[in-house]
């Protein structure tokens, strides 16, 4: 049962959030310029590390904001959360 620090609302129970997968995946500016493999890389391929992971969450039952979180997937320890567009906190890069 994660206790997630929403950057807007503070610590809330996991049940208020939805996970949005790996963070920092940008939509290609010009999809037509991509090969099929590069497009597949964008839509399907994900880093799935055991350890430090940057992921997106949305505070679905709270403020409805998306944000990023750095978490250790081997322990579930949360290193920190940060707003969309911000850089990961120190110790989570």
């Amino acid at each position: 049962m994660l206790l997630i620090p929403c950057p807007y609302c503070g610590e809330r129970e996991e049940t208020e959030f939805h996970h949005g997968g790996e963070a920092h995946i940008e939509r290609p500016q010009d999809p037509d310029a991509l090969s099929d493999a590069e497009w597949a890389n964008y839509i399907f391929m994900r880093t799935n590390p055991k350890g430090l992971f940057h992921e997106r969450w949305v505070h679905a039952a709270g403020c409805r904001r998306w944000f990023n979180m750095a978490r250790n997937t081997a322990t579930n320890a949360i290193i920190g959360t940060y707003k969309i567009g911000e850089k990961p906190p120190k110790g989570a890069r």
């Binding site: 493999a37 497009w39 597949a40 391929m45 992971f53």
Partner: protein, 423 residues
């Protein structure tokens, strides 16, 4: 091909009786604990059911016996030993039906093949429908499965009640039971026995099963694999198969390969044992409830996956609570039974909820993973097809559709394809 046949101490009623006389002092080891050699013809990373089955069929079907299974913990200690032991082949798409039914057919003769009783119990698997959308999708599956030559029936609520008198089919419950598919050949098997049986039979054919040995690197030279680095030294081999459910991405990353796989916690649990009360496997995707009763009398229950990547083998309590509320809805009398133990596994899931059984861009490196919640039931079929792929360096027709490049071409095998209900 010359098979290296080691003498096997066969299990039999006679051997049991004879050993009883000597107070069971003279049983042979089920498998050896060899030191790793410097070189093998093939290495399987991962000593779970799929890895051991791969090794067994490599030896049995392809005569490849100078091979090693490398396991970082204890054989069968991963998802093989953590699942709800359900076996079925009632899948929608032709590609899925083919490989899962291959697995079921192998299961049906596995105890004799391995000389190890895996306690296959073909007591029937029911998948419940709770709304009109479910009914439509379930019938679609029932028909597709039947036309693929696999046993499959549709049951009305009254027929369900006849099979399972303790289920509540009243229309007034929150999500009433509106129908079910039934695969009579489906059922459960003793999960540990599957791993142990394959291990013992593979060992008997000369396979080295090396436990407590963690792979730390995958060696490559000029685009092809040459072996692995392990906590017990470097081991060379021209062929390496990654069969590490839960950790497929971690191992693939060692070879520079990125996969469409995400690892999630999946929880399961058992209750205290009670006298027989449920004689079929009941599954409901709509309300996330999987339940059967084991030969010891425990109810074995499975939950849905947790919603975030994790390798902790611990899920969250609310997932279990939701699932047990669903169980109490369908089986109100179970509210007073008690959960005795619950645990978590790590499941690798692909976007189309189908596995990857494939060659990779690295020559000689093969991947078998991404089984999601469906791995146990596929174990022998998966190992059989993967052995073929590793031995011949080309997929069998059974696993050709499960190639990694399907994510580039778009030819997914969308087992969870059904979209949300919408009107």
């Amino acid at each position: 091909m010359a098979e290296v046949e080691k003498p096997v101490k066969k299990y039999s009623l006679f051997s049991l009786a004879r050993n009883a006389l000597s107070f069971h002092q003279n049983w042979e080891k089920a498998w050896r604990s060899p030191e790793p050699k410097k070189h093998y013809n093939a290495i399987i990373i991962g000593g779970g059911g799929h890895g051991l089955a791969t090794a067994y069929y490599l030896a049995k079907e392809h005569g490849l016996t100078n091979i090693a299974v490398i396991e970082k913990g204890w054989l069968g200690g991963g998802n093989t030993g953590r699942n709800t032991t359900i076996i079925r082949s009632n899948y929608l798409w032709d590609e899925s039906a083919a490989i899962y039914d291959k697995a079921l057919q192998l299961y049906e003769g596995l105890s004799q093949d391995l000389n190890y009783n895996i306690m296959l119990s073909q007591r029937g698997v029911l998948n419940l429908a709770h709304n009109l959308h479910d009914v439509r999708e379930l019938k679609r599956r029932v028909h597709a499965i039947r036309l693929n030559g696999i046993d499959s029936e549709y049951l009305s609520p009254a027929q369900i009640k006849e099979m399972i008198p303790i289920i509540d089919i009243s229309p007034s419950i929150r999500y009433p039971v509106m129908g079910a598919s039934l695969q009579r050949r489906g059922g459960v098997a003793r999960h540990d026995a599957v791993a142990w049986g394959f291990a013992r039979a593979a060992d008997a054919r000369g396979v080295d099963i090396i436990q407590q040995c963690e792979v730390t690197g995958i060696l490559r030279e000029g685009g092809r694999v040459t072996g692995v680095e392990t906590t017990r030294g470097t081991i060379h081999a021209p062929k390496v198969g990654i069969v590490t459910a839960g950790h497929t991405s971690v191992l693939a990353a060692m070879a520079g390969i990125r996969l469409p796989i995400t690892s999630y916690p999946l929880q399961a649990m058992v209750t205290e044992p009670v006298k027989p009360i449920l004689n079929s496997v009941v599954m409901s995707n709509a309300v996330h409830c999987y339940v059967s009763q084991s030969d010891k009398g425990e109810l074995v229950l499975g939950a849905g996956i947790d919603g975030y990547n994790s390798y902790t083998q611990r899920g969250s309590l609310h997932i279990v609570e939701e699932q047990l509320a669903a169980v109490c809805m369908l089986f109100p009398i179970f509210s007073r039974l008690r959960i005795m133990r619950k645990w978590g596994g790590i499941v690798d899931t692909c976007p189309d909820a189908s596995p990857i059984i494939s060659k990779t861009p690295v020559e000689g490196l093969y991947i078998n993973g991404g089984w999601g919640t469906g791995g146990f039931k596929a174990t022998p079929g998966s190992g059989w097809a993967f052995a073929h792929t590793m031995a011949r360096d080309e997929p069998h027709a059974l696993n050709a559709p499960y190639a990694l490049d399907r994510f580039t071409s778009g030819a997914l095998i969308a087992e969870h394809g059904a979209a949300a209900v919408a009107h």
